[in-house]
């Protein structure tokens, strides 16, 4: 698995396909986050826009390899493991992106509630923001895995499905990503950080949902092709 992850990571970095989602994420952050804004609000935004970014990264990693090269790797390592490596590489990239963005946001934001009066404890807020980013990266990975090959193979259907899936994952109540982001925003209004239970529950939910989605996609790779 280490060899597969190294190969997929090299493929992602050298192909420079990571650049468009990375730029999209930076632009989204530029729109929603400015220095001196309330910390928890900015962290909520940082986590929320990571979700479509993660979904796009998964799409890039899963679809980026030419079919013949994918078959060669699948024969050597097994199709499910090869697919899993691609998805995990995307997830790792999204988590890295989210971690760096969270750190930057903690550094430049004002540690106050939405009313700009009451103080918010920075370490707790940062931890909650990181867990929310993790939740969104995971759920974005689930959306990406379910809207790319082998589940949806025509680009015409897959891209709208990806956008719709990312949107629903953020706005539907009951979605772990929605719960994590809402937790941060309501925390900002009351200037409290609901550690540790509040951000951990959505994270656990996201882990379960994503594991199921990725497992389904991996199991499907050898059944649907090419």
């Amino acid at each position: 698995m280490t060899a597969l992850l190294r190969y997929q990571t090299a493929l992602l970095l050298r192909s420079q396909r990571w650049l468009p989602p990375f730029l999209l994420y930076v632009v989204f952050l530029g729109i929603g986050v400015q220095g001196g804004q309330p910390l928890l609000d900015s962290l909520g935004w940082t986590a929320a826009v990571l979700l479509p970014t993660a979904a796009w990264l998964v799409r890039i990693c899963v679809m980026g390899e030419p079919p013949a090269a994918r078959t060669v790797v699948a024969a050597a390592a097994g199709p499910a493991r090869a697919h899993l490596a691609a998805v995990l590489t995307a997830l790792a990239a999204a988590v890295l992106l989210g971690t760096v963005a969270t750190a930057v946001v903690v550094f430049i934001s004002d540690p106050v509630g939405a009313d700009h009066q009451r103080r918010v404890p920075v370490p707790e807020a940062g931890a909650a923001g990181f867990l929310a980013a993790l939740t969104c990266a995971l759920l974005g990975t689930a959306v990406g895995a379910l809207t790319a090959s082998p589940v949806l193979r025509s680009t015409g259907r897959a891209v709208p499905a990806l956008l719709l899936g990312a949107l629903l994952a953020l706005v539907v109540s009951g979605s772990p990503a929605h719960a994590a982001v809402t937790g941060l925003v309501t925390g900002s209004r009351s200037a409290t950080v609901g550690l540790p239970l509040l951000p951990l529950l959505p994270l656990a939910g996201a882990v379960l949902v994503t594991a199921a989605a990725v497992a389904a996609a991996c199991a499907l790779t050898s059944r649907r092709s090419p």
């Binding site: 060899a3 190969y7 060669v72 050597a76 199709p79 050898s222 092709s225």
Partner: protein, 292 residues
């Protein structure tokens, strides 16, 4: 781990209600055998090879056995952001080699196929033939237990074709199974253990030439041959005799073997590593009208 791959009543179709591409396939790929699959275009040869490589799962029936598998696709469009050497090193580690031995094997195999000059060339700049050499090297560098070649010879130059034939002989001699499809009906004739034809959506066994020769690979008289003369003790090693078309004692302790050209290296290796080793007197291409 079970090294022998077995398809039991396997079938494959694409989509939920698609037509069956192949069906009712029973095939046992035993170690140390060379299997040829033939059939007209679009008959399902590639689908069968993908089932054997376990890249695709059968829609019905089952597949068992997990040999370490390597696969060479028919076309290898190398739109990958690596140099040949880096790609082969990555693939070597995916096949289970350690990074240092993967680098060594990558260099060795590029050299064997005459592509050392392209080691540092980005794969997107390789010619069709050179990228096919990379595809073949990828499959051979980790010494797989099952090698699957889907028209792997197409696009290779003459020397690389002969090198691939020798590599196939080495793999089968080392106990690996090799399954291949090739449009050239003379490819590896005389060394093939079994020939299957894909037709009417299923698989038919065709008796191979000279089949049934006690255990070792059955050999026929077709194809280019090499004559090897050696001096040494009387019972020649079975690895050498099993691959020879003709074996004769010419004088006291002197033997002449006629072997398929692709197997000459394997036979020589068996003779030179025997205990005590044989002395090689001469090696030359057989006369086309040569000893039968």
């Amino acid at each position: 781990m079970d090294r022998a791959l077995r398809l039991t009543n396997a079938g494959r179709r694409y989509g939920f209600r698609g037509p069956w591409v192949i069906r009712n396939i029973d095939l046992h790929v035993t170690p140390a055998t060379l299997v040829r699959v033939e059939g007209p275009n679009g008959s399902g040869k590639s689908t069968l090879l993908r089932l054997l490589a376990r890249v695709d799962a059968p829609t019905e029936g089952r597949v068992s056995g997990r040999p370490r598998t390597a696969y060479v696709p028919e076309r290898f469009p190398a739109a990958l952001p690596f140099t040949s050497f880096d790609y082969l090193t990555h693939l070597g580690t995916i096949h289970g080699l350690t990074p240092p031995s993967a680098r060594r094997a990558a260099g060795d195999w590029l050299d064997r196929f005459g592509a050392s000059a392209h080691a540092r060339t980005p794969m997107s700049q390789l010619s069709k033939g050179s990228s096919q050499k990379v595809a073949v090297a990828q499959a051979l560098l980790a010494e797989p237990e099952l090698l699957i070649l889907d028209e792997a010879w197409t696009g290779l130059d003459t020397e690389a074709r002969a090198e691939l034939e020798r590599a196939v002989a080495e793999r089968t001699a080392a106990g690996a199974a090799v399954v291949f499809v090739d449009h050239d009906p003379r490819r590896l004739t005389g060394t093939t253990d079994a020939v299957y034809t894909v037709g009417d959506g299923t698989l038919h066994r065709r008796a191979a030439a000279g089949e049934g020769g006690g255990g070792g690979p059955s050999v026929g008289p077709e194809g280019p041959h090499t004559t090897i003369e050696v001096r040494g003790p009387a019972p020649l090693p079975p690895e050498a005799v099993g691959r020879a078309t003709v074996t004769e004692g010419t004088a006291d302790r002197t033997h002449r073997l006629t072997v398929p050209a692709s197997h000459s290296d394997v036979v020589l290796r068996a003779l030179l590593t025997a205990r005590p080793p044989y002395h090689v007197v001469s090696v030359r291409p057989s006369d086309p009208e040569g000893p039968r």
